[in-house]
């Protein structure tokens, strides 16, 4: 087999480029739309990052993106010098960090648990019931959170009152914001996020289960020594992908849940940029671009480092 491979590689090299293109012309044609898609929607827009270094003139169109006056690092400096810079970075990071710590393992555990259910109808029902919240829009979820946690009439406070505990104004206390954000986020997405793990577990060969059972392994041992190791590459892949958005908190949910009383823990980079860059009149697209670029660079660095660590520690990596 190895011999065959090296032989074909040799012939490949021998063929001139033109002939190779002609030979693979249909395959190349199939690739054209994909290349065009990425060129138009991903790579070309990236040239717009130059806006982060100029002062975009409203009304100057696409041309203005490239021809507006160069201001160097002005927008970055403005952002870095803001008294709120560290608070924003901290809040953004911590919201995602806790979402990861709490939200990442739950779908894995749930997937393992749900695949252990032997009765298929029950398994399917549980799965559907848990991934349905994912399809509720953020606005509705935030409305539900506000209603449930209201100090006057909210179900949570009513329960607390029954136990003799005074109402807590959850939505106005900075110390509660992260917990509410993380727990509600995990509740909403754990069912849906578990689908990919369920699929990975389903992909494990039944022979392996049988072999372990023949060897006398109990359910715990099967999970620990077969299921989890089998889905490890999937876990790592998703973990690295998730790390790639460590600094990208979902704007809508924070925006819908926060208020001035909880800025201390709730104000994140995206909401600040909205107020400073987009919400102003006229909008400061250059500032928004600069902060977006800053975010992307940090995200890329985290992914890069995580990938390197993963490669060294587990021998699994995205690239």
């Amino acid at each position: 087999m190895a011999k065959k491979k090296s032989q074909s590689a040799y012939t490949e090299k021998k063929l001139p480029l033109k002939k190779r293109i002609y030979r693979d012309r249909y395959l190349l044609c199939m690739m054209v739309p994909v290349v065009i898609f990425f060129a138009v929607f991903c790579y070309f827009p990236m040239t717009g990052l130059i806006m982060a270094f100029n002062k975009y003139r409203i009304g100057s169109g696409i041309k203005g993106v490239y021809t507006s006056p160069f201001v160097g690092m002005q927008w970055f400096n403005q952002f870095f010098r803001s008294v709120y810079f560290f608070r924003l970075v901290r809040n953004t990071f911590l919201l995602q960090f806790w979402s990861l710590i709490i939200g990442f393992p739950i779908p894995i555990l749930f997937a393992v648990a749900v695949t252990q259910i032997r009765r298929k109808p029950i398994q399917k029902t549980v799965q559907v019931a848990t991934y349905l919240p994912y399809f509720i829009s953020t606005v509705v979820v935030c409305g539900m959170i506000n209603n449930f946690l209201s100090p006057s009439g909210g179900i949570v406070n009513q329960m607390l009152n029954r136990f003799g505990i005074e109402s807590i104004n959850f939505m106005n206390l900075p110390e509660w914001f992260r917990r509410i954000y993380v727990i509600s986020g995990s509740w909403q997405s754990f069912g849906f996020n578990s689908i990919i793990f369920v699929a990975a577990i389903m992909g494990i060969s039944p022979d392996l289960y049988e072999a372990m059972r023949v060897d006398g392994a109990n359910r715990r041992q099967i999970i620990w020594h077969l299921v989890l190791p089998s889905i490890r590459p999937t876990i790592i892949l998703l973990l690295i992908m998730t790390l790639g958005s460590m600094m990208s908190v979902g704007f809508e949910k924070v925006y819908l849940l926060y208020n001035t009383a909880v800025y201390e823990t709730a104000d994140v980079i995206q909401t600040y940029v909205y107020r400073q860059g987009i919400g102003t009149s006229p909008p400061n697209y250059s500032f928004a671009t600069a902060v977006g670029l800053f975010n992307s660079v940090i995200n890329f660095a985290i992914v890069f480092v995580a990938n390197r660590i993963s490669r060294k520690v587990t021998d699994t990596a995205i690239w």
Binding site: I58, G59, G64, P151, S152
Partner: protein, 559 residues
């Protein structure tokens, strides 16, 4: 009850019909204003109206090829087949097709030109049109601006044409400018030209005000409080007594005030215009109300006291209008603060015992006074702005169209509709809406007050007829308390840069600190530190700019 609330919400639009844009949403944030060009700062380039005055004086109407001269009345042209493309917004009522509303169709038909409407959803207008204008392509002859362009951004981008050159074709507009020197000064850009034809809001009528449940007041044996002390006494009475006679003394919520209205309600009693943020005294000294080390501190102390006593509810930062309406409909609250139109159209109407009279309603009252005499803050009169784009195929015709659209004849149409259809003239010469006209749905679909597509002017007279009699009377009484807000002032580029750089952080600090001081999560002993923090956020630089702008405004106004 739900149905009733929905019905009342719809009914409220009758007033909004006449005062559209009067602030249906939350209260405006304290003035975070202007901006535009560095070169403007020499006295010769200051925002004066000499050029406009001279251009108006020299303006002459020109005749069409056919010899027809437009003199301010329909039609604007006798040439057939002319079309104007207008970029504007849809009605804020989803069941209204504004371009096919009778009033709008009549204005267009009378003008003698066809209109190709490009209407963008009312709720997304700013979000959709701002990026579109940023591209430099308006793709329309006439454009409704997504904002008031206080930074002169669009003016300087060259997207729109100065109107001075068309003054000869704009007799209604030039007359209006001469009759309204304040707005003329406000509209004059730093290059001495005027670029926009505005719609107008009423500045002193039907403004946000304090409203009391009159039935509760009577039960308490009190009249509407005039001072803060009297007010606190009233709130305590409401809290401690079974005002709604349901046998439960604990379900009364003394007052239901949305967070954004607290500055409107209590700021004046402490001598503060927290609505505008920046304020000028009689000597022209400009200060930032939220940095007033004496009065703002007292304001916060007062609100903190209310919060501690349970008179200002825990949920005040998240209270919204729907909740207020729900409480009123269940007779749970005695005091509200909102835009005036809510008084009879949204709050009183949902009261279980409202009988159409002021005796069983939520009725407006004088502002509260403290160490300072109370007042209400009015609105800037300039409303929606319409401009002629640089790429307009026939800008002169567009100028004529805008001019005709703001003529008195059209304003009558906007405010009253069509005689015999939406209104009738009584024997004594007064007008009143017909039975059909009193049906809000019908009136909206008829196209009343089409400020979304034309430079319409709000009318007190037609609003008086629309609201309950007692409401109109209340408005007339409250007008005396309304003071002018911080004026509309164009800013220079340098000013804009500075303000945009610093003001968001200042606003963030103010917002979070006020909530923290009121709820007590930050002790008032740290108030001096707060003032220091504002200074470190470059508040003095912003205040200096506001001062320069205000001086410029006064110069432009007084010559």
């Amino acid at each position: 009850m739900k149905k009733r609330i929905v019905a009342m919400l719809l009914a409220s639009s009758m007033v909004v019909a006449s005062l559209a844009g009067c602030g249906g949403g939350a209260a405006p944030a304290p003035a975070q204003t202007p901006a535009a060009d560095t070169q403007t700062e020499t006295p010769a380039q200051e925002n004066k109206t000499e050029k406009v005055d001279a251009d108006i004086e020299q303006a002459e109407a020109t005749a069409e090829e056919s010899g027809y001269v437009y003199e301010g009345t329909a039609p604007i042209t006798q040439e057939a087949g002319k079309t104007i493309k207008i970029l504007a917004e849809t009605s804020n009522y989803t069941n209204v097709d504004i371009k096919n509303a009778e009033i709008v169709k009549k204005v267009v038909a009378d003008s003698g030109v066809a209109v190709d409407w490009d209407l963008v959803d009312y709720n997304n207008y700013q979000d959709s049109v701002t990026p579109r204008l940023s591209t430099g392509q308006a793709n329309a002859d006439i454009v409704l601006l997504p904002d008031q362009d206080t930074n002169q951004t669009y003016i300087k981008s060259g997207l729109f044409q100065p109107l001075n050159q068309y003054f000869g074709s704009m007799p209604n507009f030039t007359k209006w400018l001469q009759d309204n020197p304040v707005m003329k000064a406000e509209l004059t850009a730093e290059d001495g030209n005027i670029y926009y034809v505005p719609g107008t809001n009423v500045g002193k009528d039907y403004q946000p005000c304090l409203m009391y449940n009159v039935v509760w007041l009577e039960k308490a044996g009190m009249s509407a409080p005039k001072t803060l002390d009297e007010f606190v006494e009233l709130l305590k009475y409401f809290k401690e007594n079974d005002m709604n006679d349901n046998g439960d003394k604990n379900d009364e919520i003394p007052m239901s005030i949305m967070k954004d209205f607290l500055p409107y309600m209590f700021g004046p009693a402490f001598g503060l215009d927290l609505v505008s943020g920046f304020q000028a005294d009689a000597n022209g000294n400009v200060t930032y109300a939220y940095a007033d080390s004496e009065n703002y501190r007292k304001y916060l102390e007062f609100l903190n006291g209310l919060y501690k006593d349970g008179l200002l509810e825990q949920e005040f930062t998240s209270l919204d209008r729907d909740k207020v309406i729900e409480r009123i409909s269940n007779d749970l609250t005695g005091v509200a603060y909102d835009f005036s139109w809510a008084m009879s159209m949204m709050y009183s109407n949902v009261l279980p015992y409202y009988d159409g009279t002021a005796d069983k309603a939520f009725v407006g009252a004088a502002p509260l006074s403290g160490e300072h005499e109370g007042f209400y803050v009015g609105r800037v009169e300039l409303g929606n702005m319409f401009a002629i784009s640089q790429g307009a195929s026939d800008p002169e015709l567009c100028a004529k169209f805008l001019d005709y659209a703001m003529s008195d004849a059209c304003q009558e149409l906007y405010q009253w509709g069509i005689e015999g259809e939406s209104y009738q003239i009584n024997a004594d010469g007064t007008r009143e809406f017909t039975e059909k006209g009193k049906d809000n749905d019908w009136l909206q679909q008829f196209g009343i007050n089409p400020s979304f597509v034309f430079p319409a002017q709000q009318s007190v007279a037609s609003t008086d007829v629309l609201v309950a009699d007692w409401h109109a009377k209340s408005n007339a009484e409250l007008r005396q308390y309304v003071v002018d807000p911080w004026p509309f002032i164009y800013a220079t580029d340098a000013e804009s840069d500075t303000i945009n750089t610093y003001m968001t952080d200042i606003q963030t600090k103010v917002d979070e600190s006020s909530a923290a001081f009121i709820t007590g999560t930050r002790p008032l002993t740290e108030f001096d530190a707060y003032i220091g923090e504002l200074d470190s956020l470059n508040l003095p630089a912003v205040t200096d700019i506001r001062k320069q702008q205000y001086e410029r405004y006064l110069k432009a106004l007084n010559g």
